[in-house]
Symmetry: C3
Subunit: 311 residues, 3 copies
């Protein structure tokens, strides 16, 4: 997320009582999780596996739990034994999310000819474009942005929190979500879908994409334009679905993957690795459809093969 | 759908500015998609693969994009470069669906001793029988028909639009849904289910059938009597589930299939072909359970077989 | 369920017009299904396969359809040709569940700093602890008990009826649910989940457990502490998930199983048998992950093996 008002590094360090290396007057302009950092952003790292990646990222301010690394040029380092906790506290402190107590918040901006049906909840600072249809009992959480000519069917939830927890001794600590959901023009989302908001960035559904019922889209996932996604498919977080992809029913897609442009995934497949553009996949774990069908055909012959070999 | 008032072919052609062959005084009495046409119905066809099928169907009025075929006896042909567009415009024009702005529409007919819990939405022209329980936050869209002694658990959606789009260059065009959902007597539907309405015909759940939670039923699917369907199962459109079928949890059934009477499909199976009555199926893709278990048993032996063969 | 007021066996028999063997002054203190009976409980059995099990259970009062067995010491037998019917009638008679006609029942006890968002339904006798967040369009049915610091995301349903039917000639008869849902402290439940209440006992989600979106939990299932359950997973009834278990997305778990402490089940797996503590499983049906990956690796080689063998 971008901060409403930048804060100087020195002021930040005073506020959260942390040591730092860097120019105290340098301005923090945003807070983001490592996968979507930009120049000016504050982020964190607490595992040696990711130190190098984060130090080399676009982030300007890095909270970390080691003093072993020199401060990279133009960046600042903020030291804490528990970078996750400082990050989470900073998100809570700077987040402008607020509680709406009305069914349709008076701070929501609703476009011309857009219809909000009874029982639909529209949170604070939601923006909905023109000519949209928001059906009954839909829930649109704070800060969701919806384009024009969008249809959201009943019971669907936009902007639920990311499923993102840090393992602590004896419990899980929640990563506080402060990201958004952004729905492009001409999108249609079926009934009882759930679209999580980004942890700190945006979950995006591109123009013209159509979702069937009971689809789950995880946090910070970016779905391209003109995709077709059939019922009961689930897409984990931070995955990129490029344009013109077709996912058939009950498909599962793991996190952090790229599904290449125009790829097709057949029903009930489980996608555990990135998929090249234009290819057709099937199975759990998914493989190219020809390869997978060849395996399945040979499996049909296996019982008789075993019988013959035993002779 | 049946038209409230029939329209003469000549008047229809004038309204939509189309050429035609046939008796201009012949009356169009309904508009339906090819899979559920009756005498008197208007339908459309725009792909050479289906011309013969549609010309030989029960439909009396056919919008098509070719003049190569003679007009069949007793029928009429309506010409358009874009039959889908004329059909869609006709559905919009003649559809009597209207917007309800009340949580429970005053045009809904609710039977004796039927309870509508808080937060439930009941659209226009809905008919609900006697002794039903409609739980909180259920959404019942316009024109749904529900029998007696029906229980609908919270969060369930009846009558969401069909997931049915036509590929156009650079976008998908929605087929406008005008069909209904019809729920028989003694049906119970679990929480957070979604039952799409027919594109132009009816999605039907037969008497005494019980659905668990989070089940998806696609448009124009017809489920028979006394079926049991376990949680998170999805059934695509236009499929026929005959009486006494049992589908266990997380099953997927493809569109346009017939699941024969009394068939049983085990959990997580993916049904891609029609199933004969009384048989038990398992797997994705599903096969008869004996055959499938034989394959799985032989697969367990395969790693050792390969090791031995390598020697 | 426990009865609000105990009833003497003789009075019960008079009320339901049944014969019995036993002390007529002995007090029935609860009614429970066989899987969760305690001393003082009434239960039923109607199938010869289960007579011995029920007669040897902790239940003090047993409705059964045979006189072949002697009455065990300290117990009482109640005779009926249709024990299920007497049991169901007794549940209806003694159940204190009542209809709430308000969005938030005035009989619900809501803790300090707990927020109930617009559109959420809270039934009779619900208890919610302190510092909870109940999001919009959530449905909490009667008698659900929720601890402190619990978050329930939009559209989720707590306390829907068990999917539990008895096959009768020509129809299914519903087992009336009278159990509860109990949610521990620090639990987070995602959007559009469905948690069924116990048939007569409790469905429990233990302290610190986190559920993602669109998860289904069947009746009388007991989930331990600090479990992580990813989106679109379904758990059938009466299963025990011990502490620290991780179930990834779209997993299915059958009923009556035990998933041992710290076990991990990979995405889309179908668990049909109990799982030992600490092990990792994959596949449908699920097997230990090493074994399963070995099978999948050998399956990849099978098409070429068949080709070579044909030579």
């Amino acid at each position: 997320m971008k901060l409403n008002q930048p804060i100087q590094l020195g002021d930040f360090a005073a506020l959260f009582n942390t040591e730092f290396i860097g120019n105290p007057e340098q301005e923090i302009t945003g807070i983001n999780e490592i996968h979507c950092v930009e120049k000016g952003d504050l982020t964190f790292v607490d595992h040696s596996k990711y130190y190098q990646k984060v130090l080399q990222s676009a982030a300007s301010f890095i909270i970390l739990n080691t003093k072993e690394y020199p401060c990279p040029e133009g960046k600042a380092l903020i030291f804490s034994e528990d970078p996750f906790e400082i990050y989470n506290r900073a998100v809570k402190h700077f987040s402008t999310f607020s509680l709406s107590t009305q069914l349709v918040s008076s701070s929501a901006k609703i476009g011309k000819n857009t219809i909000i049906q009874p029982g639909a909840f529209v949170g604070n600072d939601v923006v909905i474009g023109n000519n949209c249809m928001i059906h009954a009992n839909v829930t649109i959480q704070n800060h969701v942005i919806i384009g024009d000519h969008v249809i959201i069917h009943p019971g669907t939830v936009l902007g639920s929190d990311a499923f993102y927890f840090k393992k602590r001794p004896g419990f899980y600590e929640k990563m506080v979500s402060c990201g958004r959901v952004i729905i492009g023009d001409d999108v249609e989302i079926g009934a009882a879908c759930t679209i999580d908001r980004g942890v700190s960035g945006d979950t995006v559904i591109g123009q013209g994409t159509k979702l069937d019922n009971q689809i789950h889209v995880g946090h910070d996932t970016r779905i391209g334009r003109n995709c077709l996604i059939a019922a009961q498919t689930g897409i984990a977080g931070v995955t990129v679905i490029e344009d013109d992809v077709i996912l058939w029913g009950q498909v599962g897609v793991n996190k952090d993957l790229v599904i290449g442009r125009g790829a097709v995934v057949l029903a009930q497949s489980g996608v555990g690795k990135s998929i090249e553009p234009g290819k057709v996949y099937f199975g759990s774990p998914a493989a190219e459809v020809k390869e997978r069908f060849r395996e399945l055909a040979s499996l049909k012959q296996l019982p008789n093969l075993l019988k013959e070999l035993r002779k």
